[in-house]
């Protein structure tokens, strides 16, 4: 063994390589070629064959995707090109030296052999790979309007005027330039914005002299957005801040301005349009019709970079909107409700985690001193909402957890009794039934009723170890499908033979862990990711465990999205059943890693509550 001192010292310090023994490090060093790239020179083009693990020894490298968007910047000790070596696929990104850079090119076969023999190295790169893949999903065949960059909406050069101009001069310039807003500059730099509305409210209505400098009425340092940002985020920024004009910068310089009306040029196939469209409907039929666009929108979202978390929020927002609008229709048809009430979303809708295939879980709570016969109103209203949701594609809950079921349409006091019983005299069966009730969220009506119920739950549950232990035992009904040899154990019978259920075996266990851990930490957070973070903040989980579970959830959800997108493309109904045979060996390996994480966390939870 001929040592190669400095090279080996460097490799040994790299994360992932730090667990290799001297011989393995020497093998890696001997399989290395060193190349020098001048600042600005290309290393790998997209689509190039790459058979090396590339490590930045000194200098810096950046990766850009096929759109030219920056994927990541890499510094000393960081690697690139491993996805193509691990997947035996061409380079996905364009790599370029952004400083004078020395790169170690480690032979890919040697690297793969070393991974096979060393779990630490393997795990590190599998993780790195899923990180890299999740940063930019590979499938980008379809790009909806939501994907247009805000820069593409800019129609003309920015229209500006110096800050020393008077209000009158500014207004005249706006008229002659036919713009509804003017950017105010000092030298080249933008210092403010003045709109039609400002002239109306801050000058005319305020009786201010038009000879004053425009700087006196401008909005200083307005919110800006980079030209590379998605048009979608520009729309969000404008809505959130209630502004109609947004200056756009490129490379830190003013590049133009977009206004709300510019978005009319975007296709109407945009999630935000569906929300406002549903909110305009006055009949259940109208809502059902609007919802026909939902599958296409979901597909567009999946394929334009949305991750599982964003998609869950998107679908849930639509469901919430549909629910609210149906309740408004009910109020119009039936007259006002007899007393205060709240419509409760539960399960995945409650957690903001709905997928393309979700059924409805909901309930209704009303105030305790309701007038006699009040329930007749609630029963009819619940019927309208449940039927409407079903017609929109949110099928009836198979377990009948819906507000149309009298049992789940009760006054606050009765709800407290339910929870009190579940928590203080828990029975396993009842609990299995009840756990989605812990994911409750007010969608419509009197928020106070739901808040009161939630604080009651937290007070009763958080200190109750027996209850939490039983929840834990229950949660073990969902197991990640890893057999003794870490091979997948698949559904052995039925329609979904040789597939695994990503929801039951992957997502649900994480949802359960998060629910129990956050309750134990005395937190009634709603979404699984927030629950994990809250549990970590409350000391119920380490930060690393919480993050690992979130990563695993991200990965499994991403896989489910891609799977459902393929099904929807093929004209099939989306489901959760994935055939591992369809997966590349690498994705399979990542999925195993994610499942292993879930299992480790389940074990830790069992230990926490002393369950065998």
């Amino acid at each position: 063994m001929n040592e190669i001192p400095e090279i080996e010292r460097f490799l040994r310090m790299l994360p992932g390589f730090d667990g290799l023994d001297d011989r393995e490090i020497n093998t890696a060093a001997r399989a290395t070629e060193i190349a020098y790239y001048r600042e600005g020179s290309d290393i790998l083009e997209i689509g190039a064959t790459n058979q090396k693990l590339n490590i930045v020894r000194s200098g810096a490298v950046e990766l850009r995707d096929s759109e030219g968007d920056l994927v990541i910047r890499l510094a000393e000790g960081e690697s690139f090109g491993f996805p193509s070596v691990m997947n035996a696929s061409p380079a996905r990104n364009h790599s370029r030296a952004i400083e004078d850079t020395l790169v170690y090119h480690v032979d890919g076969d040697t690297f793969n052999n070393l991974r096979r023999g060393n779990t630490a190295l393997d795990t590190f790169y599998i993780r790195a790979l899923s990180d890299r893949l999740l940063q930019k999903p590979a499938a980008q065949t379809f790009r909806g309007a939501a994907d247009a960059s805000v820069g593409s909406l800019i129609g003309r050069q920015p229209v500006t005027i110096a800050r020393t101009a008077t209000i009158a001069e500014t207004a005249q310039a706006m008229v002659s330039q036919r713009v509804s807003a003017m950017l105010i500059v000092d030298d080249e730099e933008m210092v403010g914005i003045v709109t039609d509305r400002d002239i109306r409210s801050r000058v005319v209505a305020a009786n201010r002299s038009v000879d004053e400098p425009v700087a006196s009425i401008m909005t200083e340092s307005p919110i800006t957005l980079d030209a590379d940002a998605l048009a979608y985020s520009a729309a969000l920024v404008m809505m959130q801040n209630n502004i109609h004009h947004l200056p756009i910068t490129a490379d830190g310089k003013l590049a133009g301005m977009v206004s709300r009306s510019d978005f009319m040029r975007l296709e109407t196939e945009h999630p935000l349009y569906l929300v406002s469209d549903i909110a305009k409907q006055t009949t259940a039929e109208g809502i059902v019709k609007a919802c026909e666009r939902l599958p296409g929108l979901i597909l567009g979202q999946i394929e334009s970079d949305a991750d599982g978390e964003q998609l869950g929020q998107f679908i849930t927002t639509i469901t919430d909107t549909v629910t609210r609008q149906l309740l408004r229709i009910a109020e119009r048809e039936l007259g006002p409700a007899p007393c205060a009430f709240a419509w409760i979303a539960m399960g995945s809708q409650g957690r903001f985690e709905q997928s393309a295939k979700s059924d409805q879980d909901n309930a209704l709570v009303f105030e305790d001193d309701a007038p006699d016969g009040a329930d007749a109103w609630f029963e009819q209203a619940a019927g309208i909402v449940n039927d409407g949701l079903d017609a929109c594609g949110y099928v009836y809950c198979p377990g009948d957890v819906m507000a149309s079921n009298l049992k789940w349409r009760q006054p606050l006091g009765q709800w407290k009794k339910y929870f009190h019983k579940w928590i203080t005299v828990p029975e396993e069966k009842a609990l299995m039934h009840a756990n989605i009730f812990f994911d409750l969220r007010c969608v419509y009506g009197d928020q106070h009723l739901v808040d009161a119920l939630k604080s009651f739950i937290v007070e009763t549950a958080s200190g109750n170890e027996l209850f939490l232990a039983l929840m834990t035992k229950n949660a073990m009904n969902y197991q990640p499908p890893l057999g003794f040899f870490r091979q997948f154990v698949l559904d052995r019978a039925g329609e979904h033979r040789n597939t695994l259920d990503l929801k039951l075996n992957g997502i649900m266990p994480i949802v359960e862990i998060a629910r129990i851990r956050s309750l134990a930490a005395g937190q009634m957070r709603i979404s699984t990711r927030n629950r994990l973070k809250a549990a970590a903040a409350g000391g119920e989980l380490t930060d690393a465990d919480a993050q690992n579970l979130i990563d695993a959830l991200d990965f499994i959800e991403q896989l489910r999205l891609e799977h459902q997108s393929r099904q929807m493309h093929a004209g099939k109904k989306p489901d959760n059943h994935l055939a591992p045979a369809e997966l590349s060996p690498l994705v399979r390996q990542n999925l195993k890693a994610a499942f292993s994480q879930v299992r480790v966390s389940q074990q830790a939870l069992k230990n926490r509550f002393h369950i065998q």
Binding site: N2, E3, P5, E6, I7, I34, A35, R38, D100
Partner: protein, 227 residues
Amino acid sequence: MRMLGLALRRRWLRGKHSESPFAEFLSAPLPESGAPFNDCEFVCLDIETTGLDAKTADLLSVGWVVIRNGRVDLSTSETHLIRPENDVGDSASVHGLTDTQVSRGKDQALVFSRVVEVLTGRILVVHHAGLDKALLDRLCTARFGPALPLPVVDTLALELRRQQRRHHVSENQSLRLGDLRERYNLPYYQAHDCLVDAISTAELLIAMVATHDGADNTRLGQLVTGT
């Protein structure tokens, strides 16, 4: 011109040495002066010796690595410790080698034969080639008769020549390997054994080539500083 003279000398010597690794060395074709950088193979080599006088010093250790396709190929790297004829003397404190370590070394003639083998068809690269080349020449003369006839790229001489051409020579600008590496944005290496220095030199050469004309526009003739 340098390369042409070299070719003639090698052809003449070939007649006299028909066997031994040296014969093979002489008959292997060398790339022409107009050959692109990436088509040539270079042996970047560093030697540690028992002294600073090429007439009396012995090899203590030698390390090298090959550049091919414009990349430093570490699979070709080798280091050899040599058993000296005399004791290690003062240089031990320089190189951190002890008599015991060195006594485990190999026979000098054997290692030299390996050096000749590796240099076959390739160009020698040394930083500050003077002493190292003189020593190799002496060993070659002792073993086969003539001095070692091959093109040499001296990275120090190359940098000096470049600076002179651009009238950039400055008295206080060090041309030491470590300082030059820093100027070409290459990493700092702590260790100083002959293999590390050989790799350091190799990296410096590819950095110089990339920086000045680029590998695609660099011909072998532009790099050769001696024979």
